[in-house]
Symmetry: C2
Subunit: 221 residues, 2 copies
DNA sequence: TCGTCATTCAACAGAATTATTGAATGATAG
DNA sequence: CTATCATTCAATAATTCTGTTGAATGACGA
């Protein structure tokens, strides 16, 4: 190990990146950062973690070239360096989905119990939106919605779904989306809406994927 | 940490996969396995590592759903479960190449010193081969060559490049490839051939990428 | 300048990962 | 059955990773 040839040195660099992805909290942080830049404190609040812990994990991600930091007054805003990070996240997820039995178990035991219908694909959604036959709700918190959402979507944060649905016609189908294919909030929203007599489905994935597919994104200035 | 919601449980599963990729030796093992299935002993010999160490790393990879094991008599052959692993490897590598300054340094300091010409792309190579104007050499060991190589390639393991080149016309351009874009052997082969007066270039990547692109592969039964 | 606030640092204990060693297992050949 | 061989297991020590705590830094506003 003392003498390293250039090839091993490269593998070590690649391993730094993979190792940085190898912690559940850091993966969750990446999914949040995929929605847009965040300050340390904001991230910590989202994840319910001590600020110092989040700060240290962010620095691990920065050393791995996964996030970039930009100081803005008192705050330091962290953001994903580019979409290659999401692509790495996605391929790791693909391996896990295909080959880890435990993933199957978790997904079947929790998600499917609440969502027995096929999710809506992006293409389907675009057609449904063009035809004006569905209401699209973005169940993420307002700040994330403001930073970028699917054109035509209404922001209904998860906690407000019940109240919002009271004023919505039950005959019109609702499509819900949030942060990504495994984001729990859209599952919860769909479950709540169904229990209230609405017809509801999930979008197959969420905002970062929508943006990554090159589809238009609307922001609230 | 004691109570985990399903979302966190999923992140933990994804982290298992990423963590398994987070070790230089395991990455090197994956690159070797991308050439085809290998026994524990064969892998250990290739990497110059104790068998027990390789065995343990293989089991770590197996727990992460990255490799599969198949017993054949006394031997256990390990193989990558599917191409999703290579895609994960590739995206991790992409992140590192784009954002880790150290990768730049290593590549510039070592590889570029020996290879100042553009590598040949896959499409270019197919045209050159169709026109019959280049000699394509596969500088991997014979066993890897036998398991699958680019049609029309000649197997010239790295150690035999010098001897082989003596009998080859220096006027005909040589293209060399090996295990992948960072495989050292093709760089070394090109450097050796140039120092002997040949015109030589590297293929931009190697065998697993060729196969992954859906291009034809020839095997020696 | 001072106080406040967001972030980082430093130090610590507990946990996990790693390479090594030697013994145990499982399968084949004689 | 026994010997042999490939692989795995178990135990160990060294190292690294994690989360927590409290103090230090850096920037802003009064």
């Amino acid at each position: 190990m003392s003498i390293r040839n250039p090839k091993q040195a490269l593998y070590e660099q690649f391993a730094i990146v993979a190792k940085a992805l190898g912690h559940p909290l850091r993966l969750e942080m990446i999914e949040h950062l995929a929605q847009g830049a965040r300050s340390v404190e904001a991230l910590a609040a989202k994840l319910g973690q001590p600020v110092a812990n989040i700060s240290q994990h962010l620095q691990a991600l920065r050393r791995a070239g996964i996030v970039s930091a930009e100081r803005d007054g008192k705050f330091v805003h962290y953001a994903l360096v580019d979409e290659s990070v999401l692509s790495a996240f996605a391929s790791v997820r693909t391996v896990a989905e295909r080959h880890l039995a435990e993933v199957d178990r978790i997904v079947r035991g929790y998600f499917d119990a609440r969502d027995d219908m096929r999710p809506v694909t992006r293409d389907e959604l675009r057609k449904l939106m063009r035809d004006g036959v569905v209401t699209l709700i973005d169940v993420r918190p307002a700040d994330e919605f403001a930073l970028g959402h699917v054109p035509g979507a209404i922001n209904v944060p998860l906690g407000e779904v019940r109240a919002w649905s009271a004023g919505a016609a039950t005959r019109r189908e609702v499509v819900a989306y949030c942060r990504g294919p495994w984001c729990v909030m859209s599952f919860e929203a769909v479950a709540a809406l169904r229990s209230l007599g609405h017809s509801a489905r999930r979008l197959e994935d969420g905002m970062p994927e929508w943006k990554a597919a090159g589809l238009p994104v609307e922001t609230t200035a």
